[in-house]
């Protein structure tokens, strides 16, 4: 059971890295970016391409993924700009189209064989945690995830740049009226959010591997996280991701053999949050501790 809880944490932190970008972009600019999962997949395939090449390969994959994420975020921001006054459906269609194109390109390059990604040397073994054996890499992922969570939290909540982002989330017109070009803010948040998504893909490689269809799987998890946590909230994304990580892992362990039970639990928890607190745990004016 301890192993499942730990695993819930590693998957939770991975989900946080993925979902925080989606949450900020959606919450801030009202852009529903359905290509977010495809960005994750780009990172995962980069990790797979460099798999087995030691730390050099792993860091190269991370670096390339970061650049790819920044560029992709910038492009997506430009592409959605003309649609800013249109409905969510138009943005969803555009970004969904982008997601399909990216997935198809990846399929053309890597075919549809599921690829397995090795953890970098030193992290590919296991350690004993309170008597349970657990893979070192996943423990390290918990560490990296918590550090990233703190960094993102501090940047968004405690710095001037973060204040600007939060202000834009809260009232875009007002920020605009104060003389800030909110298209730039949007592009920057988009780029950083996409960077986090591709990075999550590389980091998640040793757990999820890389395969067609993984993009849709993680996108749905990220959307659930965003809805549960509340739009545009870093704390919400973190808490939502940790909850979903635990729910998904424990659900699959406890209800083994029941067809579809794991996804039922996942969406049932989403439904409960939507009924009790439609704005998400941190979406509203009042935070909810848990």
């Amino acid at each position: 059971m301890l192993v499942s809880v730990l695993n819930g944490f590693s998957i939770g932190f991975l989900l946080f890295i993925l979902a925080v970008g989606l949450s900020l972009v959606f919450g801030m600019m009202d852009v529903l970016n359905l290509a977010h999962g495809a960005l994750f997949l780009v990172g995962a395939y980069l990790g797979a391409a460099f798999s087995g090449a030691g730390w050099g390969g792993f860091l190269a994959a991370l670096g390339l993924a970061a650049v790819a994420g920044l560029v992709a975020g910038g492009i997506l921001s430009l592409m959605t700009e003309p649609l800013r006054r249109r409905s969510h459906l138009d943005q969803a269609l555009l970004t969904l189209g982008v997601a399909f194109v990216v997935a198809e390109l990846l399929y053309t390059v890597f075919s549809d064989d599921p690829l397995s990604v090795l953890a970098p040397p030193g992290l590919d073994g296991s350690v004993s945690v309170l008597g349970a054996v657990y893979p070192t890499y996943r423990l390290a992922l918990i560490g990296v995830g918590s550090v990233l969570a703190v960094v993102v939290y501090v940047v968004v909540e405690r710095t001037r740049v973060g204040a600007l982002v939060r202000a834009t989330v809260a009232d875009r017109e007002m920020v605009s009226a104060l003389g800030v070009d909110n298209r730039l803010v949007k592009a920057a948040v988009f780029a950083v959010g996409s960077l986090l998504a591709t990075t999550a893909g590389v980091l998640g490689g040793p757990i999820y591997g890389a395969r067609p269809g993984l993009d849709a799987y993680v996108l749905i998890l990220a959307l659930v996280v965003v809805v549960i946590g509340g739009l545009g909230s870093v704390r919400g994304a973190l808490l939502g991701a940790l909850i979903i990580g635990q729910v998904d892992t424990l659900g699959r362990v406890l209800l083994q053999g029941v067809e579809g039970a794991a996804s039922f639990i996942l969406f049932a928890s989403l439904a409960v949050v939507l009924v009790l607190r439609p704005q998400g745990l941190f979406g509203g004016p009042v935070g909810m501790s848990r």
């Binding site: 064989d113 599921p114 090795l118 590919d124 004993s128 054996v133 591997g209």
Partner: protein, 406 residues
């Protein structure tokens, strides 16, 4: 035809090949293939074979091994079956029946081959039954392991030199039941046809031998990459051993995670031989050490035919052969034997002749016979060991002959 420069060159090449050395011909055959439609009708001194194996997609590595096994046999035997020269046309099976069935149709119709050899995918093997019945041509399946291929969907024209999924796993079931294992076994395999057949074969033999299966899981095929929930379930089931079947990337991931989550030291892992066969083993690396599997072949088998086979294969390709190489090597072997007595090259004559080939006594896998239209062959218990830096499937025991229906 002759005014087309490309074809002229190809035909010339073909002529040169025929004149110079016979083994070269088989290599040229693949390039001549499409252009020479209907040039050879199987009369006189040649037999035209369509080798349909994956050259692209997930199973491309298997296709390479099979092509090498086929070509090695021809090379060692002067490129002839009896007194007939063998002409090979290679076609790409791809991954699915959507590519495999048209490939078989192509070699039958536009290349007018006498015999078809190959097929990795069971769905493809099941899908070409009508094509072969209509054209009355013989197919020798060199991998596809679904029971139905030579069972329920049997036609006299489809024979097999590989295995059936349940044949391989029931050998492990019987062995584990007799091994004095105290406690139950947890069985896990992906939720597709091969996985289901492997588990069914294992469970039937294991339970018949007095064993208990304490749990069973079927992770989604091709979609599961994090096996932690399943591994935790295995630990909680109280099983004393795990039996599994995975192949390709899933075999790598499962075996690695099985060790990473600490199960390997407490709950020994057993499996169908494909878990550690061929290209997956180097990637599983030391996490595969100690995994025990059953299969009809290992390159470590100690018999003169295998020693010669491994030596020749390794000298040529710089890596050890796999069971896939042996399956197509033996396909050439049985065709040679059948052509010694066959009166003609049509499917009926060849099928009758195959029925009378008796024991194949010079196969690298050890002696085997056709039981129905699929091999009755010895199964070997293998264990992954470190042989001076290289991981190998060392042979622990010969579990004796096993027929296809077992």
């Amino acid at each position: 035809m002759t005014e087309h420069p490309a074809i002229t060159r190809r035909r010339l090449l073909g002529l040169f090949g025929a004149a110079a050395a016979l083994p070269v011909l088989s290599a040229c055959g693949s390039s001549v293939g499409g252009a020479s439609g209907g040039a050879t009708t199987g009369g006189g001194g040649t037999v035209k074979v369509g080798l349909v194996v994956p050259q692209s997609g997930v199973y491309a590595a298997l296709g390479t091994d099979m092509t090498r096994g086929w070509e090695l046999w021809l090379e060692q035997n002067g490129g002839r079956f009896g007194d007939r020269t063998v002409e090979t046309v290679i076609a790409d099976e791809g991954e699915t029946p959507q590519t495999g069935v048209p490939a078989v149709q192509k070699v039958l119709q536009s290349d007018a081959v006498d015999v078809v050899v190959g097929l990795v995918n069971s769905a493809t093997a099941l899908g070409v039954g009508d094509l072969l019945t209509e054209s009355k041509k013989l197919l020798i399946v060199t991998n596809a392991g679904a029971a139905d291929v030579t069972g329920k969907a049997r036609t006299p024209y489809i024979w097999r030199t590989s295995f059936t999924n349940a044949q391989v796993s029931s050998a492990m079931g019987t062995y584990l039941a007799q091994s004095g294992l105290q406690g139950g076994v947890y069985a896990i395999a992906p939720d597709y046809v091969a996985g289901t057949e492997v588990i069914a074969g294992f469970t039937a033999a294991f339970v018949a031998g007095g064993g208990t299966v304490v749990g069973e899981a079927k992770p989604a095929f091709g979609k599961t990459t994090d096996y932690q929930p399943f591994l935790t379930a295995i630990q909680q089931s109280g099983a004393k051993a795990t039996f599994c079947f995975f192949s390709g990337a899933e075999a790598i991931t499962f075996v690695r995670q099985y060790t990473e989550f600490g199960l390997a030291t407490t709950i020994p892992l057993f499996g169908s031989g494909f878990l550690t066969e061929g290209s997956v083993l180097p990637q599983q690396a030391e996490t595969a050490l100690g995994v025990q599997t059953t299969l009809h072949y290992s390159d470590q088998l100690d018999n003169p035919a295998n020693a010669a086979f491994v030596e020749a294969y390794t000298a040529k390709h710089g890596e050890s052969p796999s069971c896939f190489s042996v399956q197509s090597f033996d396909a050439a072997n049985v065709l040679n034997r059948a052509l010694g007595t066959a009166t003609a090259l049509d499917g009926d004559s060849l099928a009758t002749a195959l029925g009378g080939v008796g024991t194949i006594d010079d196969s690298p896998r050890g002696p085997w016979t056709f039981d129905g239209q699929s091999p009755r062959q010895n199964m070997y218990l293998r264990k992954v060991e470190d042989a001076s830096g290289t991981l190998v499937n060392a042979v622990l025991a010969d579990l004796g002959p096993q027929s296809q229906s077992a």
